[in-house]
């Protein structure tokens, strides 16, 4: 089979349910579509964004190293987008993704890619009895079937599966590749967005405890807080995290630039052993103590 793969991202426009542009909705401090682009960048050799019209094309023109293509069949939903993308793709196979999937998994994409043999038209994952048609690989062989369907105003993607050679990646297989995968999670409304942020804040991270003593405790008005952090952090990164969670500490306990504690405070890990500026490795449930550097009394 041809190893090369095209990435097609359906980047329509304003979402009805979210009320805003999903592709450009900020997630992890940048437009959501970048999460999808980054997830597939290493698995594909070209990326095509499918948009509804030329105005939308202009809107997304700032995104580098992608090809932006206006949908041939406008108002024909995802199926039209898949058609336009496949038509434009320089490779026979293309991974099709929606633009609102913040946690697309490279591992799952690569597994799907490996399953795309020469006599296969579609590789599609299925979870909870639902086939993820905008998280699937399609071969150009599908073009004819899709074209026929679109001409009959039949926009249901599921209708093409029986007409093409389709391989399903089962839930069990997915669990083996990536347990509890969030790869198919997409954002339709505010509550999905909140959930995505929650997931993002804990993914690949560990929960640690920040304990306050003395003035820090009085200012924080709390004995401790919990934070999620990478396992490997520097003092600087940790202080930034704490500043974000407890902005009241800035100025009194943490320097205004939020890079470090004021001279009057120490940062200890699980005790009084100080954290140095070098990277440190944290473990789940570690405690970071913020206490006065003046030990007299």
């Amino acid at each position: 089979m041809n190893d090369l793969l095209t990435g097609i991202i359906l980047a329509g426009g304003k979402s009805r349910r979210l009320g805003r542009d999903k592709a450009l909705e900020l997630f992890n401090e940048r437009p959501l579509i970048f999460s999808v682009i980054d997830a597939i960048r290493s698995s594909v050799d070209e990326i095509i964004l499918i948009v509804n019209d030329s105005a939308r094309k202009k809107e997304l023109a700032f995104i580098k190293n992608v090809k932006i293509v206006v949908d041939t069949y406008s108002d024909s939903g995802s199926l039209g987008g898949i058609y336009s993308g496949l038509l434009e793709a320089q490779n026979s196979n293309a991974i099709v993704l929606a633009c609102d999937m913040p946690f697309v998994s490279k591992n799952i994409i690569n597994t799907m890619k490996n399953r795309m043999g020469s006599n296969v038209d579609i590789v599609i994952p299925e979870t909870d009895g639902y086939k993820h048609s905008t998280h699937a690989i399609y071969n150009k062989n599908c073009l004819e079937v899709i074209d026929q369907q679109l001409k009959q105003n039949e926009y249901k993607i599921s209708k093409i599966f029986s007409k093409c050679k389709t391989i399903i990646i089962t839930e069990n297989e997915i669990d083996e590749i990536e347990p509890n995968s969030k790869s198919f999670f997409n954002i339709n409304n505010e509550s999905d967005l909140d959930k995505a942020n929650q997931i993002f804040n804990t993914m690949g991270k560990i929960k640690i405890k920040i304990e306050f003593f003395g003035t820090a405790k009085l200012v924080a008005k709390q004995d401790f807080i919990h934070l999620y952090t990478k396992k490997q952090v520097t003092e600087n990164e940790l202080i930034k995290l704490i500043s974000k969670a407890k902005p009241d500490l800035i100025g009194q306990i943490i320097k205004k630039d939020t890079n470090e504690l004021k001279k009057s405070y120490n940062l200890g890990i699980n005790g009084i052993k100080n954290i140095s500026d070098k990277k440190i490795f944290l473990q789940k449930n570690d405690s970071i103590l913020i206490f006065s550097s003046q030990s007299g009394g």
Partner: protein
């Protein structure tokens, strides 16, 4: 020499006489002032007799910096043979007394003998008077100060004892400025043994400064520095917040050091005191930092206030299993009024509770109500019933009742242990063991070695070297005199101190010579102890702290402590038994006679 009066007052209470004695420049240069000079004078007049006998000298000493208005330098030092330890007893206090004493024209007072009648010594620029103190004998420290101020005038400053000192409670202190006390090692009992109730001073002679303009510039710079990040804790919350951290680190002495965490510590920790009991901030004489926080009771209509330090909240709190801040405030205020050290009071009571629980004391020690606790404290000060035994301090009391009650006596050399559990603070453990004064956390400030580093040192050699250096550094701090809470405001302590000393006196002293002065002072203290019967086994910690198996990952053990002590003697150039070779004394210019 500029910065000094070059003389001291030698007072004999036997016949109520006094003489002016000169101090050679070389002695001032070698011993600086404060704890250094008072140790020198103590050693000079030491009789090696019983600490409560008339011949034991009681020395009060100012310092070269006293009276210069440099921040935190209005401090005086007391030296005597301690009735708690039989070794050197030295204690310090911040007070206007220091400034006014120096301005009478004397750098120090050496008081010997015993008056037949209760006396008050009144010292002004030109006169020394021995006044009758019968009418104030028996008064509390606050009553005494108030009466003296009314009678002699508010221009005077006083150092006085309360009922505890009068009744020779071995951990009685000397009180001043309405809230400060030279509290440790029983200096108040020595004063009481001389029938001396108080000393009133009011000098206004000018202090000679070699380069006044420069000292004035330094004074301003230092005051600004003293308000920086390096004193943040002392300025904002004070020391009572130490409790929450120490409890978290399992280093909070609880129930006579049998435990290292107190379940109810949040009720008496500084953060809670600040929220629910804070009354106002107080400054010691001539201090810009203002570490002192005055707390007030909130459980009835008769509010009582007290200046609380962490040590008091722990010794009278977690150490006694007491969880009510109101009890602690009233107990502390009572100890202040009676003129008694709160650390030794708390740790002696906790000894008695355990000794009683284990059948070594016939009398039950009941502090289950606040009234009972306060009653017991009063009984100690007046030596009533069981209080008579407790007034001896935990060491002598445990030796008196015998059996194995010594196992619960938490002291070193007789001085009760302050509230840092040394089991996992190795530098502090070493410093407490070898301190000439007994279990004092201030003469080395070695907890700073344990707390303020990137790691906890566990190499006995490194700890010993650092502790020795910290002890010498503290001796210079306590002799110049600076407050310990100012120490981190210096960028280079020895360099800046030598610069200031030189501008003040006109005599150049190099940072290196200052370091040697610190070493000399500590060696002289040790020599005093050796002359008073010190042997190596006196440098130790109570068995409980060395053999507590329940504590996981405990650093301190018998062998570990011994190894640190061996290394400490090595870095001090002492022999293996901890004695000072003649060569070393010579090298430090200490005369051993």
């Amino acid at each position: 020499m500029n910065g000094y009066n070059n003389k001291y007052l030698l007072i004999n209470l036997d016949d109520l006489t006094f003489e002016e004695e000169k101090i050679e420049d070389q002695i001032l240069y070698d011993y600086l002032g404060g704890t250094g000079l008072s140790t020198y004078l103590l050693n000079k007049y030491s009789s090696n007799d019983d600490p409560l006998s008339p011949s034991n000298p009681l020395v009060f000493c100012s310092s070269p910096l006293t009276g210069t208005r440099l921040t935190t330098t209005s401090k005086y030092s007391i030296a005597t043979r301690s009735p708690l330890t039989n070794f050197i007893g030295d204690s310090m206090s911040s007070s206007y007394f220091a400034d006014k004493l120096k301005k009478t024209g004397f750098d120090a007072l050496v008081i010997r003998g015993k008056s037949n009648k209760y006396k008050l010594i009144k010292i002004t620029n030109s006169k020394v008077e021995f006044l009758d103190a019968t009418n104030i004998w028996g008064k509390t420290t606050s009553e005494t100060e108030s009466l003296l101020s009314t009678n002699l005038g508010s221009d005077f400053s006083f150092a006085s004892i309360g009922p505890a000192g009068e009744n020779l409670v071995r951990f009685a202190g000397i009180k001043n400025d309405g809230g400060r006390m030279a509290a440790r090692t029983g200096v108040g009992a020595v004063m009481g043994s001389k029938n001396l109730k108080a000393i009133a001073v009011n000098g206004n002679q000018q202090i000679k400064i070699y380069n006044a303009q420069k000292i004035n510039e330094i004074r301003k710079e230092l005051s600004i520095k003293s308000l920086g990040d390096s004193t943040e804790k002392y300025r904002t919350t004070g020391t009572t917040i130490n409790m929450s951290l120490l409890n978290r680190l399992e280093m909070l002495p609880t129930k006579n050091f049998s435990e290292s965490t107190f379940k109810e510590s949040t009720k008496i920790e500084g953060e809670n005191l600040i929220k629910n009991h804070f009354s106002k901030k107080a400054h010691c004489a001539n201090c810009t930092i203002g570490c002192e926080k005055i707390f007030v009771t909130n459980d009835n209509n008769d509010p009582i206030t007290s200046r609380l330090e962490f040590q008091t909240t722990a010794s009278l709190g977690s150490n006694l299993g007491i969880n009510d801040p109101n009890w602690i405030i009233r107990a502390s205020s009572l100890c202040d009024d009676l003129g008694m050290d709160t650390i030794s009071t708390g740790v002696t009571i906790s000894w008695a509770i355990e000794a009683s629980n284990n059948g070594h004391l016939k009398e039950p020690i009941d502090i289950s109500t606040e009234q009972k606790l306060l009653e017991l404290i009063k009984n100690i000060a007046y030596r009533n019933s069981i209080g008579n035994l407790l007034a001896e301090g935990s060491k002598i009391a445990s030796e008196t009742i015998g059996n194995k009650s010594y196992l619960y006596a938490m002291h070193v050399k007789g001085l009760e242990i302050p509230s840092y559990d040394p089991r996992n603070l190795p530098a502090l453990a070493l410093a407490l063991s070898v301190s000439t004064k007994g279990a004092c956390h201030n003469r080395a400030s070695a907890y700073d070695i344990d707390f303020n580093n990137k790691e906890i040192f566990i190499d006995p050699q490194i700890i010993a070297k650092k502790t020795k250096e910290s002890e010498d550094y503290s001796a210079v701090l306590d002799s110049m005199i600076w407050c310990k809470f100012l120490r981190k405001s210096f960028d280079d302590f020895y360099y800046e101190s030598s610069d200031i000393y030189s501008h003040l006196t006109g005599e150049i002293i190099s940072p290196e010579k200052l370091k040697i002065a610190g070493e000399r002072i500590n060696n002289l203290k040790k020599l005093f102890n050796i002359n008073n019967g010190w042997v190596r086994k006196d440098d130790n910690l109570p068995e409980r702290l060395l053999k507590n198996k329940s504590k996981k990952n405990q650093i301190i053990s018998n062998n570990f402590l011994d190894s640190m002590i061996d290394n400490y003697y090595y870095f001090r150039d002492w022999d293996k038994n901890g004695n000072i070779p003649t060569k070393k004394l010579k090298q430090l210019n200490i005369k051993s006679d």
